[in-house]
Symmetry: C2
Subunit: 346 residues, 2 copies
Amino acid sequence: MQGEKIRTIHFGIGAVGSEVIRLLLERPDVEIVGAIDSHPAKAGKDLGDAAGIGRTVGITVSHDPEPVLKDVYADVVVHATGSHLTTVCPELLQIVAAEKNVISSCEELSYPWRHHPDIARTLDKRARETGVRILGTGVNPGFVMDTLPLVLTTACQHIKSIQVTRVVDVSTRRMQLQRKVGVGLSVQGFQQEANGSIGHVGLRESVSVMADTLGWRLDDIAETIEPVIAQERKKTEYFVVERGYVAGVRQTARGLMSGREVIRLELEMSLDAKDPRDVIVIDGKPPLKVAIAGGVQGDQATAAILANCVPAVANARSLIGLITMRDLPFVPYFRTKRQLREELVE
Amino acid sequence: MQGEKIRTIHFGIGAVGSEVIRLLLERPDVEIVGAIDSHPAKAGKDLGDAAGIGRTVGITVSHDPEPVLKDVYADVVVHATGSHLTTVCPELLQIVAAEKNVISSCEELSYPWRHHPDIARTLDKRARETGVRILGTGVNPGFVMDTLPLVLTTACQHIKSIQVTRVVDVSTRRMQLQRKVGVGLSVQGFQQEANGSIGHVGLRESVSVMADTLGWRLDDIAETIEPVIAQERKKTEYFVVERGYVAGVRQTARGLMSGREVIRLELEMSLDAKDPRDVIVIDGKPPLKVAIAGGVQGDQATAAILANCVPAVANARSLIGLITMRDLPFVPYFRTKRQLREELVE
């Protein structure tokens, strides 16, 4: 690679954070220079071990963000610690105070202007003061149910409505994801946890970013969440689900304008979900019906998107403040020379 | 609308140019301030009549570009006169000399760096000297077979190859398009005209922009063009095609790297083409198979893309020179307040 490498610090070495690290270690245009995780199983270890890379990388995971953020020179901090903005906001402010750009997997950060306007304004103001940019992204929110439909509207003269359906089979996915969608709970347990720890976070953010980008002034965003009930006994690597218990979650978010539904997002994440897929239907001129067979694999895609955004965010020097995917020139996968050589040798 | 309107001049009032004008007349954030077309049926007429809008708009179509480009203040010139860069280059240089940004439907302009490097360098240099930007775009090249696949790679960790298939039924499309794909010709006539006036222009540009954006250094781009032969007598509004004569065209362009096919574009445009569709297959991690049922309607989408790019190009102040779709933040359809009101009244 010509020129200086992009230097990254990794804040949060969980499933998503580790996969991003694995991807960036393969890129010769990126150099990982720091790592932060307060979990006892990670802190103090070599980053390679903490992230399960299979080799050491010579960087020790710090339990304390402060010294890493303050003393290590870096272009971008990849942040992956939580879904909820109220929880992660102090971490984001700490990164921004250290004058570093942020790419975060925090779902509510993908478009916080409508649902957390105070936090959004604070983050934007602080980022502008220190001259950095903050991006929240991932596969969903961040891509399948918002960015991709918006990109498709490029080809439209008029649009009446947008509908996106995403159906994910979580049978073989990681434990945290199965737990997050309620697998194994009783219906009563599900009801108690819905709108809390159970369910996908981000649908309303996807509705909001689409509406605001298209100039649609919504009266309201209506959300529903309900359990998918197992019709027979099911078993995963982590859970046994008796018949009548919860096999997953079904959620909708609808954007209403003058009483008319202009955006409808439907998401099912459950065991043995039938016909996993992503389908985007734009009722417009021309009409567009786009189907992704099998659906975009979520964990792989989220890590890819976060990693691919690293050069885009590092180089977007004309942007400061709290940004969204719609502000960036589109972010293609970039095959590095090293990957190229490796693939050709295969 | 708040703020100043974007002022546009329209150079070329054919089928595509007229549709863009019709769309922009509906947008309160755009003001059409000039029009150019040397065709005797257009020059000297009111733009509304020349473009078939159904009403006059108070602007006379000039046969001479010079006075309009020089004397009328405008932000963007929408240029739609031809597919080939050698033909339209003098027009583009004339626009750039008048210090106006350009959005053109010229297929070869979508990515001229590989196939017309001298013209590309000249256009880029002149545009930088006068501080303007030049964009070539449309549905294809410009969207379905290049920009959209590239946007999809955002979700990929690795990619081995990209294949795009576009099948268009031209039975009910405009005469120029049917003629362009060879409808009604004898096979011999088709062979004489192939690589000349017959066939779609832009496949190699789509291959090139994808390869260069992904960092794939191609050894070669291999192209084929062959007639689709009518198996029975067919009749359109404009042509009669006897059995054994030409019903359309089938073209491929393949990007080869170290002898391996990494990009494959297949395009069929013919009468009664079976199962019209756009299909994008990315062999990668995750793999992606994206199908657009019926395919993106070309004429509608090209006009939409040109029109939607007007604000994007007018406002992309940090970009100068010869740009491509990959340089712009993504360009969503933007529903204006007026359109909104009209649609709500429906």
